[in-house]
Subunit: 413 residues, 2 copies
Amino acid sequence: MALVVQKYGGTSVGDPDRIRNVARRVVETVKQGHRVAVVVSAMSGETDRLVGLAHDLGGEVPEPRELDVILSTGEQVTIALLAMAIGRLGQPARSFTGAQMGMRTDTAHNRARIESVDTRILRETLERGHVAVLAGFQGTDDDGNITTLGRGGSDTSAVAVAAALGADVCEIYTDVEGVFTSDPRMVPTARKLERVSYDEMIEMASLGAKVLQIRSVRFAMRYGVKLHVRSSFTDTTGTWVVPEEQVMEQLVVSGVTYNRNEAKIRVRGVRDVPGIAARVFSPLAQEGVVVDMIIQNLSQDGATDLTFTVPRDAFKRALEVTRTTCGELGAADVDGDPNVAKVSIVGLGMKDHAGVATRMFQVLADEGINIQLISTSEIKVSVVIEEKYTELAVRALHDEFVDAGAGEPVAES
Amino acid sequence: MALVVQKYGGTSVGDPDRIRNVARRVVETVKQGHRVAVVVSAMSGETDRLVGLAHDLGGEVPEPRELDVILSTGEQVTIALLAMAIGRLGQPARSFTGAQMGMRTDTAHNRARIESVDTRILRETLERGHVAVLAGFQGTDDDGNITTLGRGGSDTSAVAVAAALGADVCEIYTDVEGVFTSDPRMVPTARKLERVSYDEMIEMASLGAKVLQIRSVRFAMRYGVKLHVRSSFTDTTGTWVVPEEQVMEQLVVSGVTYNRNEAKIRVRGVRDVPGIAARVFSPLAQEGVVVDMIIQNLSQDGATDLTFTVPRDAFKRALEVTRTTCGELGAADVDGDPNVAKVSIVGLGMKDHAGVATRMFQVLADEGINIQLISTSEIKVSVVIEEKYTELAVRALHDEFVDAGAGEPVAES
């Protein structure tokens, strides 16, 4: 008998039919002799509806504490519906809100961090042979205030529950069949991976893969929780996300990812003195603009060029803020390009193989694609290119590194 | 400085404009120097929507524990929206769910009874000068399970909070201006009452007046909570519901009420032996049919007639059940009439005045209205008549007892 934590996202519980489908899956798992705790999100669209209610009041940003009180009702409805649906199949089930299951967080409303899970009541429920149906995304702080973990937080809730219970596996159900070597809509030869390491999964998530929340993978890595990413609509095995030593073949490049939602801003001729980067980027942070890649060119005559990328929808705002700042700093010029994309290759094998970046640059050069920015880490290389070349670049890189590579490849986008 | 508990129903918080309106009222009360705790219901229509979600799963009656988990989200959304709206007017406010405010109930899901209110956190909130915004209708049992009090339970929540805090007044805001001597839509001369006693209010509520939940008035009477029923759309004083000794003038008849949603069933020639009533009514209770008036005629030749009323929408079911039972009991005949109404007069003064019932019967006789059933208590007389005479009867009785009576009359329907 195994202890299984299953997590179903908003699409998987989006209507009564789908909730009944999830109930059947849960009961099948119980019939296979396992104990099951299920973590669910709000029905798809529900969180947006609830945020809308708050915004309909008018004016400013909703008060964070009260927004969490509203948002947490989304999962509260789903847990009760799923517990009912499981009960109707003859399997006792019991729902628990974040407060009821003892999901303790810090007090950072709308983006709280999990501090502990009180497993007493969950263990009692599972030992009685009941299914525990748990609200993802939410918890309470030390004073009993309701908190939420931020969008996608349900993955993290599930991993936290799995870690606290010492579960044998945390199954993350989604609307795709697992983690792929690249986006199958873009790359016809993209293949589902059997296994991928935490590190690779984290890089892929941060580079645009949407299959798992980066936070939840970090959490799983820290506590050694084995993740199994699979589809709630089929019975096929998905992708296991596991410690590095359990990934059988370490390929040089295991995945090709892309992010089209990028824009580039360049500041030219700014004085190269200590503190200048802070002066440029503090106003952007205050405006809530998340800066991704930052490249600073070599200084010439005491002046330097600074280039960085931001999400495309923040481009206009970021450009204005940067122009104001750089006017004050006496920079020569600020310009930008809202039509760029980031394409990356990820693979554990890069640690041991030299020349991977060079091969990547050559592949792009052969396709006539100009590289605007480069950023590297131990297991990935990212480049920024003109957005219109995204598909060409991704396919060429997948051909070179994955299709031509030996054995089972490892990634998705 | 007074401590004021205000309760706003679903219509008063039905959309963003109305929530802002309630927020303004709350802040005005604070500006007058009072401490305010506000109890709110779910937005109108929301409870029905949530029940619908449970029913969409299909089949049977929803599991009561899980239904409460769903239903309680209705008020949880309202408290957060109202707390936000109050905050935007510059007045700090804080929302509390039933669990957070320590509203403890028994474990009877969907119709729980309040056992205690832990006032520590509410007092702290009020002492800091903050408004406490509380979810009506909900609580938790000793094991932390979410419970609800049943429809209209928010009135009872408000009274319980007022009792626990020792509030100076519990203001019940509704969409009418107070308690009237009769239904103003039916009786043009109906007047708003300044004061009415708990006993009269309880009789009126049980006889069809919808302005207050009978349970909440009983609760208020037991704990001596002064109720002020008023409109959330105007600033005029409403009706005070107070102990009997505070009602200045005790009129013979203070209100004329009616209930058109009645049906009558008659069992003829049933053996008049001990236990026969139980044999007739137990199967109805099992079917969930609420029997109202019961009249048993004098026995003749060892057989008796039994007549009773049920809500009109339960008529068909009740008739079938009764036919089956009475077949088994060997009754001569069972028939019924789905088109009857109950008309009642209520007044504290009846206690001291003889002949009130006779005067009532005479008024109806003068209008040519036949009385089918009669039921009396210390402070009310009810008659069942043909439904089509309802308006005629109510107006004639209002003329006789209220318009013609001295001073301020006391009732509504």
